[in-house]
Amino acid sequence: MNDATPVTAERHLTSYPKFLWRSVVLATDGSALFYAWMTVLTAIALVGFNAWCHQVSEGMITTHMTDHVSWGLYIANFTFGVGLAAGGVMMVIPAYLYHDRKMHDVVIVGELLAIAAIVICLLFVVADLGRPDRFWHLIPGIGRFNFPMSMLTWDVIVLNGYLLINLHICGYLLYQRFLNREPNPKWYVPFVMLSIVWAISIHTVTAFLYCGLGGRPFWNSGLLAPRFLASAFVSGPAFIIVTLYILRRFSRIRASTRVIETLVKILRVTVLINLLMFASEMFTEFYTGGSHASAAHYLFFGLHGKTALVPWTWSSLALNIFAAVIFLTPRITTKPALLIVGCAMGFCGVWIEKGMGLIIPGFVPSTLHEIVEYTPSLVEWKVTAGIWAFGFMVFTVALKIAGRVFDGDHRLKV
């Protein structure tokens, strides 16, 4: 604390609302490009919101989910989103555990990504509910929260907890900068450490949603949670690298090349671990054979002439392999364009693998081994695009506020 005057509670009462107000002002202010970007996102979000309203009033018949494939694009994106949120921690670990000073400067990008990704996840869960009006039944105290039996209640806790932890960390750091004060480590470092453990937990618990179900052999594997983490640590850093390049171009947040090198080092390991675990699971499925392998068969080759997922699966595999090759290229950080392509490939590859490639084969064939295929409906695509657009809005606005506050042009005038 190098501030001369101690901050009293009364001062917070006036300065905190000021901070929030300035943040709102910053969030709504920017260049023509910023307005265009936000307008497009708002439009997509509204289209998605409108589609969701239709879904609520007409019923989920507007989706292409069925009693056989009872989860679809929403839960697929939810699962992926949790990974993205957890992936943000891959900036926090080098910054705080390995005291990487350069990473420290931009670690807030990872933390803000976590916030935006969790918002997306929560929206996807709400979009998937048949009765969103009964959401309050989930609230401990006034509803009936089936804790600790239901893994979904664990997920509700860890996701909201992770959101709150990251909101606290980012909010505290930004507020202290706003007050022209050096942040006090005891108010945020313990939370940063907690957020590292917590990041692991959100994706582990999300994997437990699926792998605890004995009736779904495709999911019922002890390797699922580690696989989730490995893929999260591909999609998260890949997304962050692209974000850092974009920020270099459009904002004054400048990540040093050292930061990108660190992230690439992480990617080189995680992308291989992810592929290895995937290969290990597929070996077990196909070498063992039998009806437990029928979902994997469906995924790769189709089953009884039904092949809807086959193109997705092979694209995902190809994308992941190409991404690995690109990440492993020597001195890749000197070729930003190629690196960005690699990141995009890794991101999309994991999106398919953790989304359509994981959720749908859990249901095909069904538990009675009937084969009902699933392709998302237009409403589902609209809602999904809308939620992603909203997530990008949150991320953009958060980065904007953070960038400006850290730049110092948004300090409290004393």
């Binding site: 292409h64 069925t66 009693d67 009937e370 699933y374």
Partner: protein
């Protein structure tokens, strides 16, 4: 040709059965009631637009049953066209030679037609055991004998004694789930084109 088939019409009367079924002491209703078997005490002939039942004795008072008859092709007059597929039995394995309206047990004793379950039980022991225990023959009404009776079928509701194998059926109600391939319209098997209903 005056077609003459044995009737399997279902009567709503209920009969007592010699089978020992679950006890039901003190309740105002029997634990189990078995629907009376279809009336088979004769042949039904269409005459002037209406069905006329002709008791067995009408002919057999004068006409002696043929002991040797083992196949339906050998039958004539009122019995012609009878579908017969019940093992290697002859008519008089079950029908009483002296009183064609009644039945005959394997040991030669006569058995009233309404007690036909005992006749079936001679050969179909496991089915009789299962039926008595409630695991064969189905039921409706009450599972809880304290509250009402379980209404049971008689052997003859499901099994034509001359061709006892359960008839083939055509499923009439199939799932119509979205995106589940619609039922394939396979042609029904020729040899399973038997009627669903006995009547």
């Amino acid at each position: 040709m005056a077609s003459a088939v044995l009737t399997l019409g279902c009567s709503p009367d209920r009969i007592d059965l010699p089978v020992e079924l679950n006890g039901n002491e003190g309740a105002p209703h029997p634990a189990v009631v078995v629907l009376s078997p279809p009336d088979r005490s004769g042949v039904v002939v269409e005459s002037g637009g209406s069905d006329v039942a002709i008791p067995c004795g009408t002919c057999h008072a004068t006409r002696d049953p043929n002991l040797a008859t083992r196949s339906s092709e050998e039958l004539d007059q009122f019995h012609s066209g009878l579908e017969y597929a019940h093992g290697d039995l002859s008519c008089l394995s079950c029908h009483d030679h002296d009183d064609p309206a009644e039945l005959r047990l394997a040991d030669g004793r006569s058995l009233p037609a309404r007690r036909s379950i005992e006749l079936c039980a001679q050969c179909h022991g496991p089915q009789y055991r299962d039926y008595s225990a409630g695991s064969h023959g189905g039921g409706s009404g009450y599972w809880d004998k304290r509250q009402g009776s379980l209404v049971r079928n008689h052997c003859l509701h499901c099994h034509d004694p001359h061709a006892p194998s359960f008839p083939a059926m055509q499923p009439t109600f199939k799932p119509k789930d979205r995106f589940l391939d619609a039922p394939s319209h396979e042609s029904p098997d020729k040899d399973s084109a038997k009627k669903e209903n006995h009547g």
